[in-house]
Amino acid sequence: MIVAERKSIEEIVEQLAGVRSVLVLGCNECVTVCEAGGKKEVGLLASALRMVFLQQGREVNVGERTIERQCDTEYLEEVRDMMDSFEAVVSLACGVGIQFTAERYPSKPVYPGVNTCFMGAALERGVWAERCQGCGSCILAVTGAVCPITRCAKRLLNGPCGGSTSGKCEISKDVECAWQLIIDRLKALGRLEEYERLSPIKDWSTDRAGGPRKIIREDLRS
């Protein structure tokens, strides 16, 4: 899932200086699962904002709504009527949802209510960790299904570096060395000899380096 983190209430309040009505718009997908921007978080933020505005002596109408997905136009259309009664939107969706909401409602200022962080998984309740950087050219087949681009701080394709100590990365004892994980995994699979294959120079053009990415599937287009 896309993992996001709540922004501080203070930062959101700063963004809303001078606003007289605001819709707090949540998203039912990834941000709900990582408890940063679902219905519950919408309720909490709206309640907190109301109390802040009251104390500031401002009369601000704070609305609450959570839709299925902010990254699909159909669901964004569901709030079209509601949008008319609000001057601005605080979106608790990921960066994708925030931008897509703004694209659908060009005259409404849309403010981010979360910091979108990474694509990751829940290690346990309340703990999420990054697993993929979306480089557009997956090499997990040769790295024992452990991604060095995501999990090595130097994204080394022929690691580990000299800083790997007791299975930990040189940047922190709390970070696992990706290459230690890769080697352990290759060993478990009986494929350790593959470690000696040199990983070729990577084509980063499918990554962020190649500019904004787009996928077109002609078989699916209407």
Binding site: A153, K154, R155, L156, L157, N158, G159, P160, C161, G162, G163, S164, T165, S166, G167, E170, I171, C177, Q180, I183, Y195, E196, L198, S199, P200, I201, W204
Partner: protein, 309 residues
């Protein structure tokens, strides 16, 4: 095998001499006298001088400019290049820049993560890794081609090296990793500082078992301790460093005013023992901000005078 480049370091190694290199860290400012002074201290006792590339991610005068200073003094620099700060365009461009000043030695490194330095909030690049940089230089030199495939007019004539850390984890892949660097094109290796000689000898046995010592010149890295505090720091704070307890104890058990001498003694003893290890082709003496004592280490280590080639 006859030398493939005009590198003096390569000539010495191929002639079968034990080579001696040392290193200087560039200043945190633009005054060139600093690097000139350091080089003057050691120039008669070493074959080549490494210039570090923003080591520990602390911003300094650039390695290439400092190498040019050494060239202007008639000395033999080893240009260190980390892949942390430059993409493949900048790396190839800097290699050509170095070659234009006839800098003939290049050491390919990953580089410490920027979190250790004075710009921890910066972006890192890592477009290539150190092995891919080795491949890149070898392609530029041997095939006379850029990575993109276009021909290079006057390709760089560089003797290409890499680092190896026999003490990092996991130990079992440390020799396979060296084999990978050799396959990627490394011709010489400068190792991490060696304090755990037993472990290094074990590593060298595995290196010889695979015949790697015949494919690459291995320069054993040594660093003298200035104090017991430095020994403890290296043991506990520097990732991938292996300082045995007895070495720390030996330093700590020496009176404070004699610790520097004891550190030098340990360094000299290490060199004498490592000289006997088959496959060790020379020494890389990293006297961190202590260049003035390098000549003494070289002399007491029985590595002086340096051969003329």
């Amino acid at each position: 095998m006859s030398p493939k480049t005009p590198s003096k370091l390569e000539k010495i190694l191929r002639a079968g001499h034990l080579a001696v290199t040392s290193e200087c860290g560039p200043p945190r400012g633009s005054d060139p006298s600093h690097i000139v002074h350091k080089a003057e201290l050691i120039k008669n006792h070493v074959d080549a001088i490494n210039i570090t590339d923003n080591q520990t991610s602390v911003c300094r005068l650039c390695s290439l400019a400092a190498c040019i200073r050494l060239k202007l003094m008639g000395l033999e620099p080893v240009l260190q290049m980390v892949v942390r700060d430059r993409n493949r365009i900048a790396l190839q461009s800097d290699i050509l820049g170095a070659a234009s000043f006839d800098i003939h030695n290049l050491l390919c490194l990953s580089g410490d993560h920027q979190r250790f330095g004075d710009n921890a909030q910066g972006q890192n690049v890592f477009d290539l890794d150190s092995m891919q940089l080795l491949q890149t230089v070898r392609r530029m030199r041997d095939e006379g081609k850029f990575l993109g495939g276009d021909p290079i007019q006057r390709p760089p004539a560089m003797f290409v090296g890499a680092a190896a850390n026999p003490f990092a984890d996991p130990f079992e892949i440390r020799v396979p990793r060296l084999a990978k660097k050799v396959a990627a094109g490394a011709e010489f290796i400068q190792t991490q500082c060696i304090y755990n000689l037993d472990k290094f000898e074990k590593w060298m046995t595995l290196v010889r078992d695979r015949g790697l010592h015949e494919k690459v010149f291995i320069l054993a890295g040594v660093t003298p301790f200035k104090s017991a505090g430095m020994a403890r720091y290296m043991k506990t704070k520097v990732p991938g460093m292996d300082v045995p307890d007895e070495v720390v104890k030996r330093m700590a058990g020496t009176p404070k005013d004699k610790q520097a001498e004891e550190g030098l003694a340990i360094c000299v003893e290490s060199i004498q023992r490592l000289k006997e290890v088959k496959g060790v082709a020379g020494f890389h003496i990293m006297a961190i901000e202590w260049e003035e004592r390098v000549p003494e280490i070289v002399e007491r280590g029985g590595l002086y005078p340096r051969p003329a080639v």
